[in-house]
């Protein structure tokens, strides 16, 4: 495989927008191309993530539509849908296409628009990522999926609601340093614990918001990337899947797809968890961050809650997690999330993250989880 680098990134502000998802993507992609310093004519393919366009915007065929709105209609374009991990899956395939020598420059990104519909509607559409025969008829929601995981983690390891709240407080503290974040306001443990239950034991402030937004990154072969001021190298990109049904998961307190994707990524890069300086991971719910830090090998199984509570994952801590504010505070436009996480790690490794910069970060990791933990992508990044 040829070496592949990220040479440009762009992210819109996340939150409420009066623009279509294609417009949000195009905005981010324009910024990413400017950042890369290459003309749009250099782009040889678009790999695009979008999830509920059919439901919220009555829009399928979102790949070429996004390319048209951007103004590069003639490049081969493919939409990826792996629920919340869609644009990270798109990224992995672009890495492989450049690595294989098929293309030299690929635009990867994603976007989502959901705040144009009600919470009851978006809750229903997101639940389409659980099984339509065996789970949706029961009224399962995504907070419900992670509530079942949270309860299992609490039973098995003694994880507490206060430890979960510590994740929300930390990510809001980081988000307050990110001008693109949906929430740039600090919160307290008490506020989290006193917020209303959405799906016991998860409360409103344990949950990431619904968000509109777009994100894009420009990938290039080593030959092209060498001409760029600060290429960030893709050291690994790995995917894993798991059973769809919650009843089929042998141990709800763990996410085997995270463990398998992480093992594959570490093997590809010849690195281990202790080599990672900064992490952007999938904190769709506070418990999801705790379980992910364990599955990535940053902490032992069962130790993730305590790690969050004692500040090990804060900026300035042992291994800063979600300096962007994470899905929790930065926001979670699901099709854009994977690309936005990659954009943050690239910004961190370039040393351009301003007040949320992790000092001296050389190696970064992104982790994106799809739906009911049945899809996980893990990628590793390094700088020269």
């Amino acid at each position: 495989m040829r070496r592949v680098a990220v040479i440009g990134v762009g992210v819109t502000k996340f939150g409420l927008h009066d623009r279509t998802s294609a417009e949000l993507f195009a905005d981010a992609a324009g910024d990413a191309l400017t950042d890369a310093g290459i003309p749009a004519s250099a782009v040889q393919a678009l790999y695009y993530g979008n999830v509920v366009g059919g439901e919220t915007e009555h829009q399928l065929h979102t790949g070429p539509q996004a390319a048209s709105v951007l103004g590069i209609p003639s490049v081969p374009t493919t939409r990826f849908e792996t629920a919340c991990a869609s644009s990270h899956a798109a990224f992995r395939h672009a890495v492989m296409e450049i690595g294989a020598g098929v293309s030299d420059v690929i635009l990867v990104g994603g976007a989502e628009r959901v705040l144009n519909v009600s919470t009851a509607e978006s809750t229903e559409y997101f639940a389409y990522a659980s099984d339509a025969v065996w789970e949706q008829p029961l009224g399962l929601t995504f907070p419900g999926v992670f509530a079942l995981i949270a309860r299992a983690h609490m039973e098995k390891y003694g994880t507490t609601e206060a430890q979960m709240a510590a994740v929300a407080v930390k990510n809001h503290r980081h988000g307050a340093l990110n001008p693109k974040a949906q929430f740039q306001k600090q919160i307290t443990i008490d506020q989290v614990l006193r917020s209303a239950y959405v799906a016991d034991p998860l409360k409103l402030l344990d949950c990431c918001p619904f968000s509109d937004g777009g994100a894009a990154v420009v990938l290039a072969s080593e030959e092209v990337a060498r001409r760029h001021r600060k290429p960030v190298w893709v050291l690994a990109s790995a995917a894993a899947s798991d059973w769809m049904l919650l009843g089929d998961k042998r141990d709800l307190a763990r996410v085997p797809a995270t463990e398998r994707a992480a093992a594959a990524a570490y093997r590809q890069a010849g690195l281990g968890p202790t080599d990672v300086d900064v992490v952007e991971l999938h904190d769709c719910f506070t418990i999801a961050e705790i379980v992910a830090t364990e599955g990535l090998g940053l902490f032992e199984p069962g130790a993730g809650g305590r790690a969050a509570e004692t500040g090990l994952t804060s900026l300035g801590g042992e291994v800063p997690v979600n300096p962007s504010g994470g899905l929790k505070a930065k926001g979670h436009p699901i099709g854009a999330t994977g690309a936005a996480q990659i954009a943050e790690i690239v910004t961190q490794l370039r040393g351009e993250a301003g007040p949320r910069q992790v000092d001296g970060a050389r190696t970064g990791l992104t982790h994106t989880l799809g739906g009911n933990t049945a899809t996980v992508l893990v990628s590793l990044f390094g700088r020269d």
Partner: protein
Amino acid sequence: MTEPVITARAFFERARAGQLTAVRCGSCGELAIPPRELCPACHARAWQPVPLVGEGTIASFTVIRVAPRSHAADAPYAIAVVKLQEGVSILGRIVDIPLDKVAVGLPVRFRPLGARDQTSIGFGPLG
């Protein structure tokens, strides 16, 4: 060709009659619920239906308070992963147990739920 015994339709026909059914692999003995085409343990395609007792204990649960649009009228309601006596687990709606009495380890019994002409999986009190 897919044997009718392992279709979701066959499963829910039995469920509607009150019988929770798994499938056992004729090659390696693995038990699975719900049914699937290949045995996940040995990849054989030799299932036999196995009636289950329908009793188990709650492995994990949640109370859904913000529901999808299609279930908004039911909220709040409890959903649980139930570990069945035979060792396999399945997700179901908890019914006829007060929400504050639902707990990990609580014994429950299968009962079919009917809504919108569709049978789904429920669990109620054992007694």
